[in-house]
Amino acid sequence: MNGVNGTLRWLGALVTNGVWRLGFAARFFALLLVYSGQSLRRVHLTIREIYFSGVLSLLIIVVSGLFVGMVLGLQGYETLQRFGSGDALGVLVALSLVRELGPVVAALLFASRAGSAVTAEIGLMKTTEQLKAMDMMAVNPIARVAAPRFWGGVISMPLLAGIFSAMGVFGGWLIGVVFIGVDEGAFWAQMQSAVDFRYDVLNGIIKSVVFGIAVSLIAVFEGYDCTPTAEGVSRAITRTVVSSALAILALDFVLTSFMFRGQS
C-alpha cells in the first residue's frame, strides 16, 4: 500500500512540477514578447546574436546538409532505378529536404550547437550574478539578454534550414548527376516542375520558423531558470537539447499532419 502511495505521490509531484514549469515558461514567453520591442529597436544587439547563433552554426549546417543530400542521392537512386524512375532523383531529393529533412535536421543541429550555447551563456551569467547586477543597474535582463538571443535564434533558424536544403540539393546533384550519371536536364527540370513554392517551400519555411521559436524559447528559458550552480547549468544544457529535440519532432508531426494530407 505504501509503495502505491509513494508511486502516486511521485507521479503527482512530477505532473505538478511539469505544470508549474510550463506556466513559468508561458509567463516568460509573454514577458519576452512584451520586452521584445526594446531589444528590436536596438537592432545591433539582435544582429550580434544572429552572428553567434546563425553565422557560427554555418559550418555544421553546410557540412551536414551536403552529406544528407549525398546519402539521399545514393539511397534515392538505388530505390528509384528499380522502378525505372532514376530521372526523378531531383524531385525526391528536393522534396525530402524542403519539406522535412531541411527544417527538422537543421533545427536539431541548431538546438545542439546554438541552443546549448545560449543556455550555457545565460546560465553562467546567472551563476556569476551578472543578471542580478544588470537588474540592479535598472536594466531589465529579459529585454537586454534574453530577447535579443531569442530573436537571433528565430531569425537564424529559417535561414539555416534554407542553406541546409540548398546544400542537400547540391549533394544530391553531385552524387546523382556527377557520379552516377543521371541526366542533368531531367534532374533539374523534374525538380522544377514538381516542387511547388507555396505548398512545399513555404510550408518548409513555416516549419523552420516554428522550430526556431520553440528551440530559442527553450534555450533562453532554461538558461534564465537554471539553478545558479555548475551542476544546475549542466542540467539546464541537457534539458535544452533533450526538450528541443522532443519539441521539434512532436511539432513536426503536428505541422505535417496539417500541411500535407496527400494533395498535390
Binding site: L124, T128, E129, Q130, K132, A133, M137, A138, V139, R144
Partner: protein, 282 residues
C-alpha cells in the same frame, strides 16, 4: 597616505534626513525566517557597516534595500520612497540612483573593462561617445585602472575586478552605494585599496554607502556607524569607537575573533559522551 582619515564632515552634515530607513522589517524564505524586527537608518553622507557572521541575513538585508526582495512585514524606504509601493518602472527609476558592488564583481564577461564601466552610461543616457569615453576614463582613473581599459574581466585579478566593478557602480554618480562583502578573498594590499576607495568615493560623490562585511578591522577604520546582525536581528550598533569599547558579549566575540561565545563553536548536538556511547546514533 590613508585617505580615509580625511573624511568630509561638510558632506556628512549636509542633511540629517536618513536616506535609507528600515522599520520593523521581517523577511522569510517560505517558513524559514531570515530577518525579524530590523530597525536601521542610514543618513546622507554616511558609510554604514552591517556586520555579522556568515548566513546571518546581511546580504538579504542589502537585497531588501535594493528592492530585489520584498519585506514580508515592516517598511523599507529609500529617499522617502516605500519600496513595497513602487511599481517596477519606479523602482528602476530609483535604482538608477543606486550603485551596487557584488561580492565577486559580477562584471560582464563578454565585455572589456571599458565597456563594463560604460554599460550604465550607454543604457541610461544619450551622451555622445566622446563624452562616454571621457567619463569612463575618469571613473577608471579614480580606481587606478585607467591603463586596464582594454582588458577583459578574465585578465583581471580579484582585487582589480572589484575595483572595475566599483567604477561601474559609481558610473552614474549614485546617491546610495551598496557593497556586498567588498573585502572577501582579497590580499592585504587590495583590501586596503578597496577600503580607501569606498571611503574616498563616498565622500567625493556626496553619496551614502552601506557595506555588508565580516571584516571587522578594515571596516571599523572607514565606517561612520555599524550595525551588528546575528540570527536575523540587530544585536548591537554604534560608532566604531563605541563598538571597540563595547562590553556586549557578541560584539566582543566578533571584534576579537573569539572561537566561542554567544555564537557557539559547536553546532547544536547531544553531549559528546552520549554520542560516543552510541545513543541517538542514526
Amino acid at each position: 597616505m590613508r585617505f580615509y582619515c580625511c573624511r568630509s564632515s561638510v558632506l556628512r552634515s549636509q542633511s540629517d534626513t536618513p536616506l535609507v530607513v528600515l522599520k520593523d522589517v521581517r523577511f522569510a524564505y517560505g517558513e524559514r525566517e531570515i530577518l525579524r524586527g530590523i530597525d536601521l537608518s542610514v543618513r546622507r553622507g554616511q558609510v554604514v557597516g552591517i556586520m555579522g557572521g556568515s548566513g546571518c541575513g546581511k546580504t538579504t538585508l542589502l537585497r531588501l534595500i535594493g528592492g530585489q526582495l520584498r519585506a514580508g512585514a515592516g517598511v523599507v524606504s529609500v529617499a522617502g520612497h516605500d519600496l513595497s509601493k513602487l511599481r517596477r518602472r519606479e523602482l528602476y527609476g530609483l535604482r538608477r540612483r543606486m550603485g551596487m558592488l557584488f561580492q565577486f564583481g559580477a562584471l560582464f564577461t563578454d565585455m572589456t573593462v571599458f565597456d563594463n564601466v560604460a554599460f550604465p552610461l550607454r543604457e541610461h543616457t544619450d551622451l555622445p561617445p566622446e563624452l562616454v569615453r571621457d567619463l569612463v576614463l575618469m571613473k577608471l582613473n579614480a580606481v587606478g585602472l585607467r591603463g586596464a581599459e582594454a582588458l577583459t574581466p578574465a585578465e583581471l585579478s580579484g582585487g582589480m575586478a572589484r575595483r572595475v566593478a566599483l567604477a561601474r557602480a559609481v558610473a552614474l554618480d549614485p546617491m546610495l552605494i551598496m557593497y556586498d562583502e567588498p573585502f572577501a578573498g582579497l590580499d592585504p594590499i587590495s583590501l586596503g585599496v578597496i577600503g580607501q576607495l569606498i571611503r574616498r568615493l563616498n565622500d567625493a560623490l556626496g553619496a551614502s554607502s552601506i557595506m555588508v562585511t565580516h571584516d571587522v578591522h578594515e571596516s571599523l577604520q572607514i565606517v561612520d556607524y555599524v550595525y551588528f546582525v546575528s540570527d536575523g536581528r540587530i544585536v548591537a550598533q554604534g560608532t566604531p569607537d563605541e563598538i571597540r569599547a563595547s562590553r556586549d558579549a557578541f560584539v566582543h566575540q566578533f571584534v576579537h575573533a573569539e572561537a566561542d561565545g554567544p555564537v557557539p563553536f559547536h553546532y547544536p548536538a547531544p553531549p559528546l559522551a552520549q554520542s560516543l556511547l552510541g545513543e541517538g546514533r542514526p
